[in-house]
C-alpha cells in the first residue's frame, strides 16, 4: 500500500471499517512511513478531542414526558394483548383432564413472575426517579473505598463495590433505595452520557429470584446477575448488550 492509497483509506481505518487484509497492509505501511503515521496521529488526536470535549445532549425530562404523552394520546391502551393471553388460558383450562395440573403450573409460574416483575418495576421506578430528579447519588465518589463503607454503615450487609472505569463504566457514587420492602445498595455507574443504576443485595436463600433473562420495561432495560451470594439488577436506557456487559463485570469480580 502506498501513501496515496493510505491517505484515501485512513478514515475507514480509523473508524474500524477496513477489511482485515487492507487493514494489515495499512499497518505495515504506517510502520515505515513517518508522514502517514503523523496523519494517523493527528486524526486520532482530533477524534479523541471530539469524544472528550464535545457535549452529548441526552434528552431532557420534558422530551421524555412529551413522547410518553404522544404515545398515550395516540394509542388506545395496552388492553389487547392481555385479553389474548386470558383467552389462551381459558382455552387451556377447558382442555380436559390435564387442565388441573396445567393450571397449577401456570399459576405457580405466574406468581413467581409477579414477584420478580414487582422488583423490576420497583427498580425501574427507583432509577427513573433518581435520574429525573436531582438525587442521583447520596455519596458521590469514584473511589470504591469511599462508597463501600458509606453503604455498609447504612445497611445490614456490605455490597461489593468496584470501579470499571477502564471498561467504560466509571463508578460515580452510591445511593440508598428501597427494593422489595427493604433498603438496598444502589451503585451508580456511567456509560458515556448514560446513567446505570445497579441495585445490589444478598441473595435471599428462601426464595430464589426467577428473573434470569434481561427484560425491558417502559423503555428501560433491566439485566440481572448473581455471584458470591449477592444478586443485582442493572437498570438503564443504554442498550442491552452494554448493560449485560456491565453485569458480567459485576458478577465476575464479586467477592
Amino acid at each position: 500500500m502506498d501513501c496515496h492509497e493510505t491517505t484515501a483509506l485512513l478514515q475507514a481505518y480509523s473508524d474500524d471499517e477496513l477489511d482485515p487484509v487492507r487493514s494489515a497492509a495499512m499497518e505495515r505501511h504506517l510502520i515505515g512511513c513517518a508522514e502517514c503515521a503523523a496523519r494517523r496521529d493527528e486524526l486520532a488526536k482530533l477524534r479523541a478531542r471530539i469524544r472528550n470535549e464535545v457535549p452529548y445532549y441526552p434528552a431532557p425530562q420534558p422530551v421524555r414526558a412529551r413522547a410518553l404523552a404522544a404515545i398515550e394520546a395516540a394509542t388506545a391502551g395496552p388492553a389487547r394483548p392481555r385479553r389474548e393471553r386470558w383467552g389462551w388460558l381459558t382455552a387451556g383450562a377447558l382442555a380436559g383432564s390435564a387442565a388441573t395440573v396445567f393450571a397449577w403450573f401456570i399459576g405457580t409460574a405466574a406468581l413467581e413472575w409477579q414477584a420478580t416483575s414487582d422488583i423490576v418495576t420497583e427498580a425501574v421506578a427507583n432509577h427513573s426517579r433518581a435520574t429525573l430528579g436531582n438525587r442521583l447519588v447520596d455519596v458521590a465518589s469514584s473511589d470504591q473505598h469511599t462508597v463501600k463503607p458509606w453503604l455498609s454503615a447504612r445497611l445490614d450487609y456490605s455490597p461489593p463495590v468496584r470501579d470499571f472505569k477502564e471498561d467504560g463504566f466509571p463508578l460515580v457514587g452510591g445511593r440508598l433505595d428501597y427494593l422489595d420492602g427493604r433498603p438496598v445498595a444502589t451503585l451508580v455507574y456511567k456509560y458515556r452520557e448514560h446513567t446505570i443504576d445497579v441495585f445490589m443485595r444478598p441473595v435471599d436463600s428462601g426464595k430464589p429470584t426467577a428473573l434470569r433473562r434481561p427484560t425491558t420495561l417502559r423503555g428501560f432495560n433491566v439485566a440481572h446477575g448473581s455471584a458470591g451470594g449477592m444478586e443485582c439488577w442493572a437498570v438503564s436506557d443504554v442498550n442491552m448488550d452494554v448493560l449485560t456487559s456491565l453485569v458480567q463485570h459485576l458478577t465476575s469480580t464479586a467477592s
Binding site: 485512513l10 478514515q11 475507514a12 473508524d15 471499517e17 508522514e35 503523523a38 493527528e42 486524526l43 488526536k45 482530533l46 477524534r47 478531542r49 471530539i50 469524544r51 470535549e53 464535545v54 457535549p55 452529548y56 445532549y57 441526552p58 434528552a59 431532557p60 420534558p62 422530551v63 421524555r64 412529551r66 413522547a67 410518553l68 404522544a70 404515545i71 394520546a73 395516540a74 394509542t75 388506545a76 391502551g77 395496552p78 389487547r80 394483548p81 452520557e193 448514560h194 425491558t216 417502559r218 423503555g219 428501560f220 432495560n221 436506557d237 442498550n239
Partner: protein
C-alpha cells in the same frame, strides 16, 4: 390523532431507548435546545404514524432516520437559508464561523467550547455524519441508512468534516501541532 392499531408496548420498546440519540442529533442539527425538543416531539408523532412500516430490527437507525427528516423539515420551514448543497466546493469556506478577529480566535481557543463551535459551524450535511459517527458510534452502514447516502459518501463526508475541523481557525492548536511535523 388516534392510532388504536399501534402496539403500544412494542412501540415504547423500539422508540423510548432512542430518545437520547434522537435529541442529541436534533440538538446538533437545529443548534437549539427548544427547537430540538419540538423536533423530537414531531418525530415521535411521525414514528407512531409510520410504525406499521417498521418490521423490527434496527430501531435506532429507523427512528434516527425519522428524526433527521423532521429536523430538515423544521429547518426548511424556519431557516431555509441553512440548507446548502453539501457537494459544492465553496462550503469549505463556510466552516469559518462568521468573521472572527484574531483576538476572538485566541479567546475562544482558550476554552474547550472552541471545538463544539467549530462543529456547530460545519455545514449540516457534514455535521450530521460526524455526530452520528463520533457521538452515536454508528457504523458507516448505519449512517448510510439514516442519511440515505452510499457508504462511500459517508466516508468522504467524514473525511471532509474532519479535515475542516483540523483546518478550522478556531482550533489552531490542532493546526499548530500538525504544522510542526513538516
Amino acid at each position: 390523532m388516534k392510532l388504536p392499531h399501534v402496539d403500544r408496548k412494542r412501540f415504547e420498546e423500539a422508540v423510548l431507548p432512542q430518545l437520547d440519540a434522537a435529541y442529541n442529533l436534533a440538538r446538533w442539527l437545529t443548534r437549539s435546545a427548544g427547537d430540538a425538543e419540538d423536533v423530537v416531539q414531531d418525530a415521535c408523532e411521525r414514528a407512531l404514524r409510520y410504525f406499521d412500516a417498521f418490521r423490527g430490527g434496527d430501531a435506532k437507525s429507523w427512528f434516527l432516520t425519522i428524526v433527521r427528516h423532521a429536523c430538515y423539515d423544521w429547518i426548511k420551514r424556519n431557516r431555509p437559508a441553512e440548507i446548502a448543497p453539501v457537494e459544492a466546493e465553496v462550503i469549505e469556506d463556510a466552516a469559518d464561523p462568521a468573521g472572527l478577529t484574531p483576538e476572538q480566535i485566541v479567546m475562544r481557543d482558550a476554552t474547550t467550547a472552541a471545538l463544539d463551535e467549530a462543529i456547530a459551524a460545519l455545514p449540516a450535511g457534514y455535521r450530521e455524519v460526524l455526530i452520528l459517527r463520533e457521538l452515536e458510534d454508528l457504523s458507516y452502514k448505519e449512517i448510510a441508512r439514516v442519511v440515505d447516502i452510499p457508504i462511500g459518501t459517508v466516508m468522504s463526508r467524514l473525511a471532509r468534516a474532519r479535515g475542516m475541523l483540523q483546518r478550522s481557525p478556531v482550533l489552531h492548536s490542532i493546526r499548530e501541532r500538525s504544522a510542526g511535523r513538516g
